[in-house]
Every structure is written in structure tokens, then in C-alpha cells.
């Protein structure tokens, strides 16, 4: 996992290869996006899309494309970027290939706070205040941080071993799931159903409003993550070496975790509990471009986006017009990979 050659990523041949992979994946994402735009319950031919994009399509097609499908695909891309980057950060900071915020309970922590928040808002007879929706990512963030602190405190035993962290995380995950259920049982039937769909991971009610809610978080924290990627790479050399190279390890670790929680929580607040993206995307990225985070994070972000766009296309076409929560599709892909990793990881 740790290659000890020159730390500067911008000169070597591997860099060129990474760049090549990055653009190839970006191209793939673009193609998927176009296919996804055309697929769904109502059919749109490539010709229709072209006409609509150039402004000569019918009003119905414009509505379908620009108000329903486009925001949804953009949201899928953003959620994929957010969750994959968060996963890469978590795996890097904990030096643990299994540390996906979706598996170790960061997502459910966020989810619990969001569900609780929605429940409390629904208790008051008035209309929900205007800031209720904008506040969701913040509420999710507080929940994610709470879960992260809980996991770290409980897993701490003269340091945190990877397996211990995952086991405690899975426990925390179960605990928060139970707490969510407790809140849900107090909800009215319709709220309950909505919470279920939301928690299993769904972006079917995407709109430009949801996109705008998530976008600032991605625009702020993904560049931050990239900026910190070098430090993350240094940290992979081991704590002593990192300190020797002038890194304030504990401080940086906390900063990186906060960035990771922010990205995963903001994604969860709009898309619900989509697990495994934060696990699978960084792993695939590492396979393609190696373990250096300066290269690995961008590639893993694009892979995350591809994963969600692809899963969402499947989610809304297989049983159309009914929809499957996108989180289930991602899990179908991700769970076997997780088990495979559990089997192959030695320590």
C-alpha cells in the first residue's frame, strides 16, 4: 500500500498513467451521464435529447430533462464524489482498508440525527421553517462527528487496530440503526415510509434545490481534501516517519477526519444511507493508480460518481415506473466486494 519512492506525484511515469486513467474515467462518466439522461420510465431518443438541449424540443421534454433527470444525475455525481472522497480520507487516516463511513456507522450517525431532526420538526404544528432543508447537512454533520468520536473512544485501546475499528464501527452502526427505528416508530405512517425509503438510500426526489444544498459542501471540502492529500500520503509512511518529516500527525488526523465526516454527512443528508461507495471506489482507484492520495483521491471521486450514476440508472429502469432505492443497488455491487476484502485482508 505504501510506495516509498519520490513523494512528488507530478513528474514520474505513474503520474502520466494516472492522468490517463483519470481522463478515461471522466470520459466514461460523461458517456454514462448521456445514457442515463436518455433512460427512464419515459423514453427519450438521443435525437430528442439533442433537440431539447439545443432548445428546439417540446416543453414536456424540457421539463423531463432539465427539471427531473438532470438534477438527479448531477446529484448522483456529487454524492458519488462526496462519499468516495470521504471513504478515501477515512481509509487513509485510519490506515484501514475497511474504513468506509457507510460501514462503520458515520452514515447511520448522520441518519439518526437527520431523522430525529425531521421528527422534531414534524412535531410542531406549523409549517417546517424555511431553513429546515438547508439545515439538514449541518444536522447530519453533527451526527457524523458524534458517531466518529464514539467509534474512536470505544475502539481506543493503546491505539486503534483496523479490525477493532471496523468491529466497533459495525456495533455503532447497529446502535444508531436501532435508535433510528425507535424514532421512526413514533412517526406517523407516511413519515415512517418516507424515512425508510430515505434511509435505504435514494435520490429519486432530486431537484435543483437538493443539488444546491449539497454543492457548497462538495465545492468546499473536496478541494480541501485534495490540498491535504500530500499529508495523507506522508502519514502512510508511518507515524514516526511522518513526525520526522514535520507533520503534526494528531492535529492533521483530526482535520482530515472532520473533512471526511463533512463530505459523508452532507452526502447522506441528501441521498440517505448509501453504503459501500466509500469502500469500493478508493479500492478500485488504488488498484488503478497506486496508493498516493494526490492521485488516488481524484480517481476515486470519479469512480464514486460512476458507481452512483450507474446504480441510479439501474435503480430507475429495472422496475420502471417503480423505483428501487439506489442504495440497494450499490449494496448489491458493494457487499460482495466487502466480503472479498474481509477474506483477503490478512492483518
Amino acid at each position: 500500500m505504501t510506495d516509498t519512492d519520490d513523494l512528488s506525484p507530478f513528474k514520474d511515469r505513474v503520474f502520466k498513467r494516472s492522468l490517463y486513467f483519470f481522463f478515461f474515467l471522466l470520459f466514461l462518466l460523461l458517456i454514462l451521464t448521456v445514457i442515463s439522461l436518455g433512460s427512464g420510465h419515459l423514453s427519450l431518443s438521443p435525437g430528442d435529447i439533442w433537440q431539447t438541449v439545443t432548445g428546439s424540443g417540446t416543453e414536456a421534454h424540457q421539463l423531463l430533462l432539465f427539471q427531473f433527470r438532470l438534477p438527479r444525475i448531477i446529484l448522483a455525481v456529487l454524492v458519488g464524489i462526496g462519499m468516495a472522497t470521504a471513504g478515501a480520507l477515512f481509509q487513509g487516516v485510519t490506515q484501514n482498508g475497511l474504513a468506509d463511513p457507510g460501514i462503520i456507522g458515520i452514515h447511520t450517525g448522520s441518519g439518526f440525527f437527520v431523522v430525529l431532526f425531521l421528527y422534531l420538526v414534524s412535531l410542531s404544528q406549523d409549517q417546517p421553517p424555511w431553513w429546515a432543508n438547508i439545515g439538514l447537512p449541518f444536522v447530519a454533520f453533527v451526527g457524523g462527528i458524534t458517531a466518529a468520536i464514539l467509534i474512536y473512544v470505544l475502539a481506543w485501546k493503546e491505539g486503534v487496530t483496523p479490525i477493532r475499528l471496523v468491529l466497533v464501527g459495525i456495533g455503532i452502526n447497529a446502535g444508531f440503526s436501532a435508535a433510528i427505528l425507535l424514532v421512526q416508530l413514533r412517526m406517523s405512517e407516511s413519515d415512517f415510509n418516507r424515512a425508510i425509503i430515505w434511509l435505504s438510500g435514494s435520490i429519486w426526489n432530486a431537484s435543483w434545490a437538493t443539488v444546491l444544498r449539497l454543492l457548497p459542501w462538495i465545492l468546499l471540502f473536496v478541494p480541501l481534501a485534495l490540498y491535504k492529500a500530500r499529508i495523507l500520503s506522508v502519514m502512510q509512511l508511518g507515524e514516526e516517519m511522518a513526525v520526522g518529516l514535520g507533520t503534526a500527525v494528531e492535529k492533521e488526523r483530526i482535520k482530515l477526519l472532520i473533512i471526511g465526516v463533512a463530505l459523508s454527512a452532507a452526502s447522506v443528508s441528501v441521498a440517505g444511507g448509501v453504503a459501500f461507495v466509500g469502500l469500493v471506489a478508493p479500492h478500485l482507484a488504488r488498484r488503478l493508480v497506486g496508493g498516493k492520495f494526490q492521485r488516488m483521491i481524484p480517481v476515486s471521486a470519479v469512480i464514486g460518481a460512476i458507481l452512483i450514476v450507474l446504480s441510479d440508472s439501474i435503480a430507475r429502469t429495472v422496475l420502471a415506473p417503480s423505483e428501487i432505492p439506489v442504495g440497494l443497488i450499490v449494496s448489491v455491487i458493494g457487499a460482495p466486494y466487502f466480503i472479498y476484502l474481509l477474506i483477503t485482508i490478512k492483518e
Binding site: G40, L63, S207, R316, S322
Partner: protein, 318 residues
Amino acid sequence: MKKLVVSTLSLTLFLAACNGENTVDESENDTTEDTVTEENKETTDSESRVLTDGAGQDVDIPENPEAIIASYLEDYLLALDVIPAAQWSISDGEGVQYYLQDDLGDVPTIPYDLPYEAVMEFEPDFIMIRDQPEQDMIDQYNLIAPTYVLNASPTDWRETMREVGTVLDLEDESETVIEDYDARAQETASLVEEQADGESAAAIWMIDTSLFVVHPERSSGAVLYGDAGFEIPAVVDQLSDDADWAAVSLEEVAEMEVDHLFLISDDEESSLTEDRLWQNIPAVQNEAVYTFDSQSAWLYYGPIANEQVLDFIDGSLQ
């Protein structure tokens, strides 16, 4: 009764006022805009009314909407002779409201959670929903067609009926539906008085070995006790919390000592009915257990469902 008369009167007055306004509008249009094309005239004619809905939004209600999506409100629409563009369904169109299929048989199905593209497919010009979804979703539906979220409580079918009537500009018709229903209920009430005066009844829903009893003021419970006039067993009164159908044990059912048992069950045989406790229920001993399948109207709300329940009661007593 007095209240009803007064409200009907004020409603009629209100309607009359509205009509007056409309005619004024039309004549104005005619004089000032002689050159308007047929199309333009149509749009000015269908100038919409504005009502505040359950989500606190002012909704422009189109006049004479032709393609209405009002999922799970089909009962009320049909009572007003309005055929919706699509009907509620679950499991990919497999599960529908069977008790309405005489009227809804030809109406295509739409998934219960109203995915945007499924809604778009029907090109509705008006959408009515009951469950209050997130504002984001209402905004999206509004892009497709004006969307009205009902104010009325889902457990009060009369209130719902009136609101649906008001929204669709069919107030008089909705009052007629309620009056007709009350008149029809009176027939059953006299039958009950004649055949089972002072006797108690309960509607029990049996799923495998679980039992549920209807809330005395909701769904078919409101019909059974409020309209038909059966006595409410003490146990039912105590159980009634916030569910339409509350879970009960066999012991509690036995404790009810009901004279008439309306059993909603899809199983021919159940181990429960072999139980001594069950055998000792007065209704069982007097052969006053009437079985219906779970697709029948007992589990639903609305004037049509209720009327079918009245028919069931009549049929059972005769």
C-alpha cells in the same frame, strides 16, 4: 342539523356569488377583447381559483381539470363522478383498491409513491395528494401540474369529501354525496334497530394468527358504530389509540362478548377459530360471524367504501 342547513345555505350563497363574478368576467372579456382567438378565450375562461392547501401554499386550481391524479383519493373522486387519470397501486400495479374496480377497471395504475416520471406520463393538469411530502417534492410536482395537498384529516371522510368537492368546484355535489350517504345509512340503522337493537358488534381483521380491531371512529368502525348504530364493546373503546386497526389478543376479543362479529380474513381455516376462547364468543355461538376478504371495503375510507360496508351489514343481518 341546524348547523348543516346554515352551512349549506352559506355555501349556496357563496357559490351564487362566485357565479355572479364569473358572468361579469365573461361579459367584460366579450366587450373589451372582441378580437381574442378561441384559444386565448379558453385560457381566460379557465382563470383559476386560488385555494390555500395543507402545505400552506396558495394553489391555482384549474377549472375543469381533465386529467386528475389523486392517488388513494379515488373513492372521493368517483363519488363525484370524476374519473382520475391514474389509480393508486402497489407492487408494480399488482395491488389496487379492488373494491373500486367496477369503476376503475380501465384506469391505468400509478405506483403509490408517485415517481415524477410516472406522473409526467399521464400529463395531468391537476394533482391532489394527501400525505404531506417534503416541500421539495411538492415543488417538483408543481412543475408538472398544479398540486394541492389536502388539509382534511385522513381519518375524517366527510371533511375530506367536502374539501375534495370544494377543490374540484363540486361543493353541491359533495354535499349531495354526504346527504345521500346519511340517508342510506339511516336505512341500515333502522334495520339494526329492528333486528339487533342494543347489540354489540366488532370488525376484526385476521392476518394469520394476528388479530386487529377497527378504531370505533375510523374507517369501517365509523360506519359500524356511528352510522349503523351497533353498540361499541368496552374493550374496543379502551383499545382505540392512534391506529385505524389496533392489535388485540384472542383473550381481549373473547372479553368483548360481541353479538356480531365482522371478520375480515383471507384464510378459509385458522387455528384461532378452533380455540375454546373463540368458540365461546357469543357471536360464534349464535352463528353471527360474517366473513369478508381483505380486499373488500372494510379496510378503506370514503363514501363508496362506507356504502359497501353498509351493504355488507345489511346482507349479514338479513
